[in-house]
């Protein structure tokens, strides 16, 4: 029985200077650049075309910058641990490599946990737009941001488009004013006075729709990377026994993907949170 040998599986191809698997990953990453490029382009279009006051002047008005900064540090850290794993394999230290891979996996998990808290906070935070100004504390306002109280009647969800509406009235505890500590007292608003109500989910505004789409897609890439990393943590021993070079190359390819995910976040962070 004849065996088929895959050319340039391990040794570099003379034209590309690298083994074929690595070249394939680079081409895949080039296609990923175009995927995220389309979303960045959409961001520019929506932001430039947003009517005055419709796009937050600074992402921190809505998003949690300290948490995102922490996540940036975690993701950069995971890139280092990933490359350390590859370096350990180059020094023939399988045990150390698997420890670095495990740390990378945990960092990725930590990133998603932080993102979970960011997301859930947005879905429980509401904004009410009013038909006419009402007095809250010492100010007359036409919109209130805050959290619904426990005794607030359940909001109705439209079957047509999923938008929220108020049945009788809404009870909302307004956010503290910038620089202030105490939250205001809960405000009762009759349904007739509510023009629109929404949580800070994707439906809230083009800005948040863009935020959830881009960070959501990035989050899916993190999950995909975690699956691959976990696979190589679990199967590392057996592949290493068969071919040390093959396992090292696979970790290098996984690393290329992982660094790309880090690279995308390096641009997402300032674009969505800081500008």
């Amino acid at each position: 029985m004849s065996t088929t040998v895959i050319p340039h599986d391990l040794e570099p191809h003379p034209l590309t200077g690298m083994y074929n698997g690595k070249f394939g990953i680079w081409l895949f990453l080039a296609s990923e650049v175009m995927l995220f490029g389309a979303l960045f382009s959409t961001y520019v279009l929506l932001r430039v075309g947003a009517p005055p006051g419709q796009w937050p002047a600074h992402g921190s008005e809505i998003l949690n910058v300290p948490l995102a900064t922490l996540n940036t540090a975690v993701l950069i850290g995971s890139s280092v641990t990933m490359v350390m794993s590859w370096a350990a394999l180059k020094m023939k230290k399988l045990g150390a490599a698997r420890v670095w891979l495990t740390v990378t996996f945990l960092c990725a998990g930590a990133f998603l946990v932080v993102k979970y808290f960011e997301y859930t906070d947005k879905f429980s935070h509401y904004q009410v737009w009013l038909n006419e100004p009402i007095k809250v504390g010492e100010h007359e306002v036409t919109t209130i941001k805050g959290h619904l109280t426990a005794d607030c009647p359940k909001l109705e969800v439209s079957e047509k488009n999923g938008a929220y509406s108020v049945t009788e009235h809404v009870m909302i505890t307004p956010d503290a004013e910038p620089g202030g500590h105490a939250h205001g007292e809960a405000v009762k608003i009759e349904a007739s006075k509510v023009k629109r109500i929404s949580n800070f989910g994707p439906r809230h505004s083009p800005y948040l729709a863009t935020y959830f789409t881009m960070t959501g897609l990035h989050g899916l890439h993190i999950v995909g990377g975690m699956v691959v990393i976990l696979y190589f943590i679990l199967t590392g021993g057996s592949i290493w026994k068969r071919s040390q070079e093959k396992y090292t190359n696979r970790i290098e390819c996984t690393g290329l993907y992982w660094h790309f995910v880090d690279l995308v976040w390096i641009f997402l962070f300032p674009v969505l949170y800081l500008l």
Partner: protein
């Protein structure tokens, strides 16, 4: 020298570079966040944020992804990709100059 034929001493040298790059990336992250609180004009804020992000991205690509030691052919492929990425980013500009339906 390709990664195919690295000695342990070479790898240890690489590890020192990785740690240096990691420290620099953290510092630049702090710079990005710090500058955003200076309340610069929107043009300056976008310029600084994208410049720092580009420096960080280049460091990740060059050192963590070892782009710095790859053959020129890969650079040409990525340059083509970068060109089309810029075209995509500039597509919204067309909407500014779109006069169809405007009288």
């Amino acid at each position: 020298m390709s990664h195919h034929e690295m000695s342990v001493a070479d790898v240890k040298k690489h590890v020192r570079v990785y740690i240096g790059v990691f420290a620099l990336l953290l510092v630049l992250t702090g710079v990005t966040v710090g500058v955003s609180y200076l309340h610069l004009s929107i043009g300056a804020a976008v310029g600084v944020a994208l410049l720092v992000a580009s420096i960080k991205g280049t460091m990740v690509a060059c050192y963590f992804m070892h782009l710095i030691s790859e053959k020129a052919m890969l650079f040409w492929i990525l340059a083509l990709c970068g060109f089309f990425f810029l075209v995509l980013l500039l597509v919204p500009v067309i909407t500014v100059h779109d006069s169809v339906g405007v009288h």
